[in-house]
Each structure stands twice: as C-alpha cells, then as structure tokens.
Subunit: 216 residues, 2 copies
C-alpha cells in the first residue's frame, strides 16, 4: 500500500515514514506543505495521504484544504489528517465535506503503532476513522453544507465587520441598528456556522472570524 506524508516538521515526518515503512507501507513521497502535497498526489496518486492539519504558510487549515483539493482531483486517495489539538470544527468539515476514506487523529493520542497502521489502512480502503473523543463530541451535530453560504446578506455583513474587530456596540452604531438586533444576528451566525452554545473549548466569535477570513 502506497502512502505519502505531509508535515513541515521534518523530525516527526521522517519518524512517521519509518514507522509506516516498517508496518509494510510503501512511502512514496514526503512533502512539507499543502501545495506540494496536492501536486505530488496528482502526479503520482498513492493509496492514502497522511497529512498534518496545520502547515505553512498560515498554519491554520492547510492540511484540510489540501485534502479537499485531493478529494476533487483524485477521489480514490484516502486522507488521514493528524492534529495536535482537538478541533471539532475541522472534524465536522471532514465529516460533511468528504464521503468516506477520511481519518482524523490526534498526534499525542496515538498510543499504539499497530492500531495506527491499521487505521491508515482502513482510511485507504474508504473507511472513516475519527479520534474516539472527537466522535463523542460530534454526536448530535447536524450536517451542514457550506455554512457560510447559508448566511443572509445581513448576517454576512455583520460577520464581515466582526472580522474587522468591531464590538457589538460598534456594529450597532456602524449599521444604525439596535444592540439587540446585532446580538440576534451574531447568534444566528453562530447557529448557522454550527458553533454550538455551551462549548467551553472554543471562543466562538474568534472561530467565526477565522472561518470568514479563510473564505476570502
């Protein structure tokens, strides 16, 4: 089974290459960023790509962005994403935007090499592998399709100003609306971007802003 690796951290990536080679994989390529990965996979499609979620230049979601491109260009390639942190919104994107053949594991939570290589093989065969704690977190969430596209014009305008760092008060002044109206729009934005209330792990406004900035 042929695998390519994408991670800008050389020490980690090279170690991974050896672990997978030892497990019987044919490591046919290693790259340090998303663009290189997409090129490599297009030229010489592997069975599966193991991809670090955060890579240059933005260290934000380059891995998943590259994965999306690969899925469009070479749909048969399995995509195993590795992350340093639990990030539900990224996992959600994986679940909703990709139709099988995807994995999302936490680097620090892989405790057994055999299980890890089995997981990579499962992804290559079209299965879905998600970190168990993430699965728990994901239960109950509804599927969404391009959440940003669901925003009304007004909501998009509000989010654009939020992304410029305006407070709710300033938003109300700027748009000649009441504070109550702004609050309503902001809440509606969160709902549509599937940023559920009660999540203590995320600062939802910052996440909404990051979502908006990434779209541009």
């Amino acid at each position: 089974m042929r695998v390519v690796l994408a991670d800008d951290a050389v020490l980690f990536r090279e170690g991974m290459a050896r672990i997978l080679a030892e497990a019987g994989f044919d490591v046919v390529g290693q790259v340090g960023d998303g663009a290189e990965l997409v090129d490599l996979v297009r030229r010489d499609p592997p069975d599966v790509a193991v991809i670090d979620l955060r890579m240059p230049p933005g260290y934000s979601a380059e891995g998943i962005d590259a994965a999306a491109k690969i899925r469009m260009a070479v749909p048969a390639v399995g995509l195993m994403l590795l992350s340093q942190y639990v990030e539900v919104h990224h996992a959600m994107r994986l679940m909703t935007d990709f139709d099988g053949g995807v994995g999302y594991l936490l680097k620090d939570r892989v405790s057994d090499l055999t299980t890890f290589s089995v997981d990579v093989r499962r992804v290559a065969r079209g299965e879905v592998v998600i970190d168990p704690e993430l699965v728990t977190r994901l239960v109950g969430r509804r599927r969404q399709r391009d959440p940003l596209a669901e925003l009304t014009d007004r909501e998009r305008q509000v989010l654009g100003l939020m992304a410029q760092g305006l407070s709710n008060t300033a938003l109300a002044d700027e748009m000649h609306l009441s504070l109550k109206t702004i609050e309503g729009h902001v809440n509606s934005i969160f709902t549509k971007l599937d940023l559920a209330p009660g999540e203590r792990d995320h600062h939802r406004r910052v996440l909404a802003v990051l979502r908006f900035l990434r779209q541009e």
Copy 2:
C-alpha cells in the same frame, strides 16, 4: 553509541527511535515520563538521552528537571532536550546550570536528519548544541519595537492558541495552567498590544488575533 528516549507522545518517540537507530545509534530504552527516565539512566547509563522538555505529570519542565537529576547521578551522560516552543528561560537554564554535554533544539525546526544525529553525537561527546534562532534571541533581545515582539514566550504561546479559537478554559487545559493564569496572560497581551480596556468600539480579543495572524 547508546541512547535512551523520553517523550510521552508515542508516535513521535517511536519515529525518533527509528531515525536514530538508522543513524547508527543503539536505542537501549524508551520511556514516557521523567521519573522513569532517571531510573532507567541510573540502572543502565547510556551515552546520551534525548528528552522531551514537557512530560507528565505537569507538562511544565519535567524534561529539564530529569536532566538535572541525571547530571548529578551520572554526569557523563549527554543530554539533548527537545521542545515544541521557544522557551528562552529553559535554554538559559541549560546554558548556566549544565557544564557541557547539553543540547536544546526545537522539534519543528530540525530540518535535516543527518545534522540532527550529528548534533546528538556532539552532545554525547560533551559539546553544547543550541537552536540557532534561540541563540539569536538570547543575544539580540529588545531590538525590535513591534508590540508583538514585546510579548514573552509564554504570552506568544497563549496568543497563538487564542488565534486557533481556543477559549480560556481550553487554553488552561491545553497548557496545564489555571484559568486565572490564562486570564492574566491574556490581559497582559492586550496591554502590550496597546488594546486599552474600556474601549467599547473594539472586540479586543478578535483584534489581538488579527494582529497575530497578520504577523505570520
């Protein structure tokens, strides 16, 4: 040359073991925390130990604490510390408390395996190896006027995670600190970035995040 490895992240540690074995080292042991490391080194001293700076239980400075104990118990053992983040105070402690035979490298900045294994050998032979950027930072501090440059290493780390959308609670979990400590760092970041309190026009957290993202 005999080496032992200490890192609780299995994937990373196992990869490292293979890299070093391939480079001709005899990997005689692997452990997941500082106490195990000290025991192992006492029982069967290697030539050099490669140690993750942050390990259980506190994820704070277990690596360097264990290194200090090893230096006292078996002074001939070389000590290579690996860190995820730039932490000047730890590097400084290494330079001042240890008399040769020490190294401090950033995991994400090791870009060449041959150089890395050479560095490990140098440390084993009693030399000092420090990440080059860290050297620059140690020598040329306070040269810039950029507010972001005024942040301490800790504050920069906090801001980086804020920019990933982590809430204060998640920051505390992630960094194994108290919520109070995180709040203190966040407030300090705002002060240093000239984001004054009482300004109703701006959402200061979002602005701080935008500032960080623009810098990258």
